[in-house]
């Protein structure tokens, strides 16, 4: 395994992330105007939507890392892919939870089929939930990484197709909330949104690098211990 320093510039990244998150929160609560029809509860969107966007890109990025892994045979790409998926699933739970909270405020139910993006997301989430069981049911580590990469690539190609299908199938009477907050957003809302998305993306990257560094370091420790014990 090649020697890779995952933790490079992790500290700086973390500070920048913290700054952006603070700025984002400030904008959400003090700057962004209250939505005309939904009122204060629209503010949930500043968490829900950026998390959803970032996790979906996380899944697709994992597919790209998997491609790199299969082409180079370098296991460090597989680790990057694994951590990206793992992190996206974790935040995915948050997406579904905040989505349910919002659905409860908007329509009084914890789940609605009318919101196509939420439905597509659930399907993607269910698919990726199988990633870890699949990985850990294969004993041989080299085969495990290969099969995991195959899955990541297939599932990564699936994400855009799935969203396209659900969106095409829309004949829903409720206006899509994303269109009413997406298409005709006033300028200050738009700025807030952008900052929130950047902040979430930075958060994801920081946590991703953090976990990668963690994994890498514990691997190094194991190797060190094994070499020491071999010498005794």
């Amino acid at each position: 395994m090649t020697s890779v320093l995952f933790g490079k510039r992790l500290g700086t990244l973390a500070w920048i992330t913290a700054a952006f998150m603070l700025a984002a929160m400030a904008l959400v609560f003090f700057y962004a105007p209250e939505d005309a029809d939904q009122g204060f509860r629209q503010k949930i969107f500043y968490v829900h939507v950026p998390m959803a966007i970032v996790t979906l890109f996380g899944f697709m990025a994992a597919g790209i890392f998997a491609i790199k892994h299969l082409r180079s045979g370098d296991r460090s790409w597989d680790v990057r892919s694994y951590v990206a998926i793992h992190l996206s699933i974790m935040l995915g739970v948050g997406v579904l939870a905040t989505g349910a909270i919002w659905a409860k405020t908007a329509w009084g139910h914890w789940w609605v089929w009318e919101e196509p993006v939420l439905v597509s997301y659930l399907i993607v989430f269910l698919l990726y939930c199988c990633y870890q069981p699949l990985r850990f049911s294969i004993a041989d580590p080299e085969r495990q990484s290969r099969y995991a990469s195959v899955f990541a690539i297939t599932a990564g190609a699936f994400v855009p197709l799935n969203f396209a299908a659900v969106r095409l199938a829309e004949q829903y009477t409720h206006p899509r909330v994303l269109s009413e907050t997406g298409g005709n957003m006033p300028g200050d809302m738009r700025v807030t949104f952008l900052v929130c998305i950047v902040a979430m993306a930075l958060l994801f990257t920081t946590l991703w690098k953090l976990e990668l560094t963690n994994k890498h370091t514990s691997e190094q420790l194991k190797r060190l211990r094994r070499r020491l014990e071999a010498q005794t």
Binding site: E34, F40, I44, V47, G94, K104, E211
Partner: protein, 52 residues
């Protein structure tokens, strides 16, 4: 300036979910880190003993 209007508790719940997820994750990483520190200590002691 901070307006807690109707639906405010739901918004709070959403943010709490978000923050909790992050904090839990960091806690997990932190515990892994402390375990690694302990391991590093034992390895160092092992080396010291041999050096003697």
């Amino acid at each position: 300036m901070l307006v807690i209007a109707e639906g405010g508790d739901y918004v709070a719940a959403a943010y709490v979910v978000f923050v909790t997820l992050i904090v839990v994750y960091i806690a997990i990483i932190a515990s892994k880190l402390s375990r690694m520190e302990k391991e590093l200590e034992t390895l160092n002691e092992l080396l010291d003993k041999r050096a003697k």
